[in-house]
């Protein structure tokens, strides 16, 4: 026996979206958004007030979870570097579908004030399917809540399907990712 | 009585040497002294005042011998004991010789390796 079973080297299957319960599913998914507690950048400082007493995101049915396995939402909270991108990809791929990505602040959109840094990722949706962009540097908790409200609407209406696109276009995403991450050192497919 | 006292004195002197002296040769001499003391004691035990030596070569000793001579048995015993004593002393001295050849000393303190 070899080391093969360290990682499952198998491409994720395409997922169908439908079924009898689709309406209820979407309704429930929208109202039960579990956010993976993972701060990629400076913006995660804004998440604390968002989730605690002052702004109380829990009233939207959201809560933080400590493990990607149980999470629905990945928040990219600020600028991404090559180093973080790798981690972000792995976290995202370890989340179970349906899953959503919310990009926080200017940096994921165009690099923000670090646009010319050798190490910053300028455009996130080349690498991960983003469902909601929240602009600002940094967006205040109110803005974040508004963004989540928007995400809920999208899910409710069945339009937040970044997770589907990601699997469908996995090769394209991978190609982009590998351009940035020179030493990949990850399994081909993260589970 | 004098024999008794003398023999016991001899034994005690020998014993003193064995118990106190730190020189191997002196200990062996002590043993020899003890041996002699015991021999004298045995002889004196068999001695009966007024009787003669149990050598039956005189005519008048042939009759009624047992009332005229001293007890012959202790003498016979002592004869054997003397021989044994000589043998022991010989063996002892040879052992002492060998010991001296090993360590070049006769001090008993040097021969205390086997203990406990």
């Amino acid at each position: 026996m070899d080391k093969k079973n360290y990682f499952l080297d198998e491409k994720p299957e395409k997922l169908t979206y439908g079924g009898v319960f689709r309406k209820i599913d979407d309704w429930a998914r929208a109202r039960s958004l579990w956010v993976v507690a993972y701060g990629t950048g400076c913006g995660s400082i804004e998440l604390r007030p968002t989730f605690t007493s002052r702004f109380d995101a829990e009233r939207l049915g959201m809560r933080m979870v400590g493990t990607p396995r149980q999470a629905d939402v990945l928040i990219i909270s600020g600028y991404l570097t090559v180093k973080t991108l790798k981690r972000v990809i792995r976290v995202y791929e370890q989340m179970q579908s349906p899953k959503y990505v919310v990009a926080l602040g200017a940096c994921p959109i165009n690099g923000g004030m670090y646009y010319d840094s050798y190490n910053a990722i300028n455009q996130l949706d080349l690498y991960l399917p983003v469902d909601v962009w929240i602009t600002g540097c940094m967006p205040r908790p109110e803005a974040i809540l508004a963004g989540f409200k928007r995400l809920q609407e999208l899910i409710d209406s069945g339009r937040a399907d970044g997770w589907k696109k990601y699997i469908e276009n996995l090769d394209w995403y991978r190609e982009n990712q590998r351009k940035i991450i020179k030493n990949w050192k990850m399994p081909n497919y993260n589970w | 009585m004098a024999f008794f006292v003398a023999s016991i004195l001899l034994i005690l002197i020998g014993l003193y040497a064995v118990l106190v002296k730190r020189n191997i040769m002196k200990i062996v001499i002590g043993l020899s002294l003890m041996d002699t003391g015991v021999n004298v004691l045995i002889i004196s035990l068999g001695f009966i005042r007024g009787r003669t030596a149990p050598i039956v070569n005189v005519k008048d000793l042939l009759v009624n011998t047992s009332s005229k001579v001293v007890d012959p048995l202790p003498q016979a015993l002592v004869l054997t004991a003397i021989v044994i004593g000589v043998a022991v002393t010989a063996v002892a001295l040879s052992i002492v010789m060998l010991m001296y050849s090993k360590k070049n000393t006769l001090e008993i303190d040097e021969y205390k390796e086997l203990k406990w």
Partner: protein, 1047 residues
């Protein structure tokens, strides 16, 4: 018929000739030397045979020099004297052979002459009927001995010879004085004559004084404490052959004289003299040896102790106030002791000659790969330590049971000394048997022959003495034991041995079939035989690495357990118990444990000797109801069983013995052998304590049981070695069983017996699985395993079921025991014990998880990638053992009904008060429990849930073992991710103080305290001639003052 004088004459003559011949024809000198010894041996043998066959009815009296006995010197040869001569010449012959093989000391002619003279002197001492002649022979012996000791001419030898000579001279001075005074007092030197005159009534006070003079000379030669320093020096310094001849033969001749002379003393003063000197010499020898690091001196201490025992026995033997039956028994014991000690010591000293270096540590590994050496050493050590089947065992038993009740302190003394003996002998044994195999010298003929003599004598001795003591040893079991030993002959091929063992066990089951009755013995017999058989199957893998004695020893353990449970008297139980203990000792010693087997030996021996003491105190040897006064016998007897159950605070042997014994043996040790303790305790409770009487003692036992369970569980939680963890767990579970037995109610007993069987199933399964795992993985250290479920699914499943059973979680069989036990406890009202028991069983979950997690779950480590499922035989046994777990889980009555029958066969007990209903299941006054329902419910709803899940679940993908959420990182290796080390470190912070090794420290303290005392004690042997001489003088004066009765 050979005239005894011929022996002496020929020997003397050839000694003379050798002295002359060796200068001219060395070879002829040697030939004459050996021929003389052979002749002597044959001649004395013929005389002895004459006495045995009845051809000679009366002692031979040989007159010398033509004078009839009272006046002339005569030899007086009876049965004892002839036997002694045979003994002396056999030892001399063996020693001579050894000398020839290894090379004689130079100059060899002198050595041969002295050697002949020494054996001649010893024979003369034995034969002579005349006191002065005795003195002469003593001197011949002594001078020859001084010379022989010095003959190797090393520093030590010379020093020893000198000391010997000084002390010996003083002693012979005493003897000579005594002889002469004797002559003066009685007018005779003939022993028979004096004895006759004594009867005629000569003033006894003076005679006693004189005799004491002779005796104090003899006591020097008999090496009594504290005037035996010279002897130890001789044993340490002299040529082993000489030592063998001295310790094995010459001293025994002195002992015979001692016996003869003792009759001249008033009875009471001889009796107390023998008891005081015998006892103190015995104890001093046994305990001083603890600190001894020089092996030959160690043997010396042991010899001294054995002589002490002989002197002690002599005190009883010559005590005419004792019943003649007991005196006969003691006489037999003395004969056995002499025989046993002579040959065993000869063998040991000659073996010591084969080992380079004199320290205990130099013996390391000598038993490995040297079968002859191992055989000789083992049988000799077993003989001396009085371990069955050797003759020394019967000597001890005979001696003890012949001692009348008012001297029970002497019995205690003998047993304590025997225990001390086990401590140092088995320390040596353990050092010798472990470590790297080491080349020992090849000069093994003589030790082998002498130990062969010991072994060959075994069947005869057993035959005679088991009848003499009227111990009904089960013949079938003995036969099976014999067959088991025969398995050794198949040692050239392990598979054949394995198959042979299985066949033997099958035959054993067939033979013992009539004993499977619904009573306590039948119950345990079934457990022993079927359990032992099942576990035997799993021993095959890896058995090639085991010595070929493994299978015989294994079978002996099994069949001796059968013997234990089938015993009808306590003494036969003891015999089989000892066989079981020591054969299992051998098995444990086959593991890699450093101290395990030694500790096991000490504790087992302590228990066994306590049991022997307890049996000694019993009014009747039969196992049956009878009034037993006092608690002491029960306490003493149960000590042995508590040791075997490893009940705290007697548990400290268990961890290492279980953990480090051969993996193939541990299941038997834990699953069945510990249950022998249960069996024994059950016997004690039913037949000695009484089920309903002695509530305080039983309450105490209950606390012992539950505290054992609690603390051992706690220790298991923090244990990182798989087998040691299981060991603690096993001990803890047996603690529960003890608790149930202590309850003494039908419900409690029912719980205990149920748990006994069930514990066998799951713990044997766990140990078998552990053996398989260790066989495959190569370590038993838990943090190095993990993730093996991916490689050993069957073993995981089996272990899981066993663990669920162990934890007592309902649908499996383990819960029944728990439920019964708690019901019994609450019914009895032992509240506090109940609470602790509950808590302990909760703690058990901690280590249960630890086993499963550390071995099977978590990450599979890289070095275990190529691990395969356990071998087929192991897997087979796993399946065999897990089936009952499930079946009993649903139908506990399959076991509870037979248990009810067993209970109703016992006096004072009745079937457990459980009523069985269809809906409520088992109902007691207290509660109810429906096993079948729970099983069906659990299995059914589990299946339903599973099916529902399979239908409704999301798309499930089985991922790789490193595909875990790891903060976005990619784990580099399985090692990084596995949490195996220090699993319960946080818990240790909370309760760590509870597992402070107090008990271990106390035992260690006791051991070290005794060591310190022994160290202090043995300092009296200063090695200084003056001191030794002073001791002799002082002691003689004391003896003369105290025992003569002269004021």
């Amino acid at each position: 018929m050979v005239n005894p004088i011929v022996i002496i004459g020929i020997t003397l003559a050839s000694a003379f000739f050798i002295g002359i011949l060796q200068a001219y024809a060395k070879v002829w000198a040697r030939v004459i030397f050996i021929l003389t010894l052979v002749f002597d041996l044959l001649a004395s043998g013929i005389v002895f045979y004459g006495f045995l066959s009845g051809e000679l009815a009366r002692p031979i009296s040989v007159k010398i020099g033509g004078f009839p006995p009272p006046i002339g010197i005569n030899l007086l040869v009876g049965k004892a004297e002839a036997a002694m001569a045979v003994l002396i010449f056999s030892v001399a012959f063996l020693g001579a052979i050894h000398w020839f093989v290894k090379g004689l000391p130079q100059p060899e002619g002198k050595a041969m002459v002295l050697f002949l003279l020494l054996s001649l002197g010893a024979t003369g001492i034995t034969f002579t009927g005349d006191f002065f002649n005795l003195f002469v022979f003593i001197e011949i012996t002594s001078i020859a001995a001084y010379g022989l000791v010095a003959s190797s001419r090393t520093k030590g030898a010379l020093e020893a010879a000198f000391k010997y000579m000084v002390v010996g001279s003083i002693s012979s001075t005493f003897i000579l004085l005594g002889v002469v005074f004797l002559y003066k007092a009685t007018g005779s030197l003939n022993m028979m004559d004096i004895a006759g005159k004594l009867l005629g009534g000569i003033s006894s006070a003076v005679l006693a004084l004189i005799t004491l003079l002779i005796l104090s000379g003899l006591l020097v030669e008999l090496e009594v404490f504290p005037i035996n320093g010279w002897a130890l020096d001789v044993y340490q310094g002299a040529d082993p052959v000489v030592v063998a001849l001295l310790a094995g033969a010459a001293v025994k001749a002195f002992y015979l004289v001692f016996l003869k002379t003792a009759g001249f003393l008033p009875l009471s003063s001889f009796f107390s003299l023998a008891l005081i000197f015998g006892g103190s010499t015995y104890l001093a020898g046994q305990f001083f040896a603890w600190r001894q690091r020089d092996v030959r001196r160690l043997f010396g201490y042991s010899s001294v102790a054995q002589l002490g025992l002989l002197i002690l026995a002599a005190g009883f033997f010559l005590n005419s106030a004792l019943a003649s039956q007991s005196r006969l028994m003691i006489g037999a014991a003395i004969v056995l002791l002499i025989f046993n000690h002579s040959f065993a010591k000869t063998s040991l000293f000659l073996l010591a000659d084969n080992v380079k270096g004199s320290n205990v540590e130099d013996w390391a590994g000598t038993l490995r790969g040297n079968p002859l050496f191992a055989f000789s050493f083992t049988s000799s050590v077993f003989s001396i330590a009085g371990i069955p089947p050797m003759a020394g065992f019967w000597a001890k038993v005979l001696l003890i049971f012949a001692i009348p009740r008012q001297y029970s302190w002497a019995v205690a003394l003998i047993l304590i000394g025997a225990l001390a003996e086990v401590v140092y002998y088995f320390h040596l044994y353990r050092v010798a048997s472990q470590g790297e195999g080491k080349e020992a010298g090849g000069n093994l003929f003589s030790p082998f022959v002498s130990s062969l003599l010991l072994v060959v004598s075994v069947p005869m001795v057993w035959g005679i003495f088991s009848r003499k003591l009227s111990i009904p040893l089960n013949g079938q079991v003995l036969l099976l034991l014999g067959i088991s030993l025969g398995i050794y002959l198949l040692g050239f091929s392990r598979p054949l041995q394995w198959l042979g063992s299985l066949a033997t066990l099958g035959y054993g089951i067939y033979v013992l079939l009539p004993h499977f009755k619904p009573d306590l013995s039948g119950f345990f017999l079934a457990l022993v035989l079927f359990g032992g058989g099942a576990l035997l199957i799993a021993t095959y893998p890896g058995s090639k690495k085991l010595p070929s004695t493994f299978y015989p020893a294994y079978l002996v353990v099994v069949f001796s357990m059968a013997g234990v449970v089938l015993s009808s008297t306590w003494l036969s139980l003891f015999v089989f118990w000892e066989v079981m203990t020591w054969s299992s000792f051998l098995l444990i010693n086959m593991g890699e444990g450093k101290k395990a087997a030694w500790l096991y030996a000490i504790f087992s021996a302590a228990g066994a000797y306590a049991m022997l003491g307890g049996i000694y105190l019993l009014p009747s040897l039969r196992i049956g109801v009878g009034k037993v006064p006092g608690l002491l016998p029960a306490v003493l007897i149960s000590l042995a069983f508590l040791v075997k159950m490893a009940t705290a605070p007697l548990h400290i042997w268990a961890r290492d013995a279980y953990g480090e014994s051969a993996h193939q043996f541990t299941p038997l040790l834990s699953g069945i052998m510990s249950k022998m303790g249960v069996f024994g305790t059950a016997l004690v409770v039913v037949y000695i304590l009484g089920v309903s009487s002695n509530p305080v003692f039983r309450y105490f036992l209950g606390w012992l049981g539950v505290l054992t369970a609690f603390f051992m569980t706690l220790l298991a939680v923090f244990q990182d070695d798989l087998k040691k963890l299981l060991a603690y767990s096993s001990v803890a579970q047996v603690g529960y069983i003890l608790l149930g037995v202590a309850l003494g109610t039908p419900l409690g007993w029912s719980a205990s017996l149920y748990h006994t069987v069930n514990h066998f199933f799951f713990k044997a399964l766990l140990f078998v699985a552990a053996a398989g795992i260790i066989y495959r993985v190569g370590t038993s250290y838990l943090p190095q395993m993990g993730g093996l479920i991916r490689r050993m699914p069957l073993t995981f499943f089996a272990t899981l079921l066993a663990i669920i059973s162990l934890a007592g979680i309902p649908p499996l069989s383990g819960f029944a025991g728990k439920w019964l036990l708690y019901s019994a406890l609450i019914e009895k009202g032992w509240i506090f014990i109940t609470v602790v028991a509950f808590l302990a069983s909760t703690l058990a979950f901690l280590y249960c998880f630890k086993i499963l997690h550390s071995v099977f779950l978590g990450q599979l480590q890289e070095e275990n990638f190529n691990v395969k499922e356990v071998p087929l035989t192991v897997a087979l046994v796993e399946v065999l053992l897990l089936l009952p777990l499930i079946i009993l889980g649903a139908f506990p009555r399959l076991l509870l009904d037979p248990i009810d029958k067993v209970l109703s066969s016992l006096p004072g007990l009745s079937p457990a008060p459980i009523h069985y209903g269809r809906v409520m299941g088992a109902v007691t006054k207290l509660g109810h429990w429906n096993a079948l329902f729970l099983m069906v419910f659990f299995a059914g709803s589990f299946l339903i849930a599973l099916v529902f899940f399979a239908i409704t679940s999301a798309r499930i993908r089985k991922v790789g073992q490193l595909d875990v959420g790891y903060s976005g990182e990619v784990p580099r290796s399985a090692e990084d991710l596995h949490f195996g080390y220090g699993l319960y470190e946080h818990f240790r912070k909370a309760v760590g103080w509870l597992i402070y090794p107090l008990v271990t420290k106390v035992w260690k303290g006791i051991y070290e305290g005794i060591n310190a005392l022994a160290e202090m004690g043995r300092r009296i042997y200063t090695g200084d001639v003056n001191t030794y001489a002073a001791y002799v003088i002082a002691l003689s004066i004391i003896i003369l003052y105290i025992f003569s009765g002269v004021k």
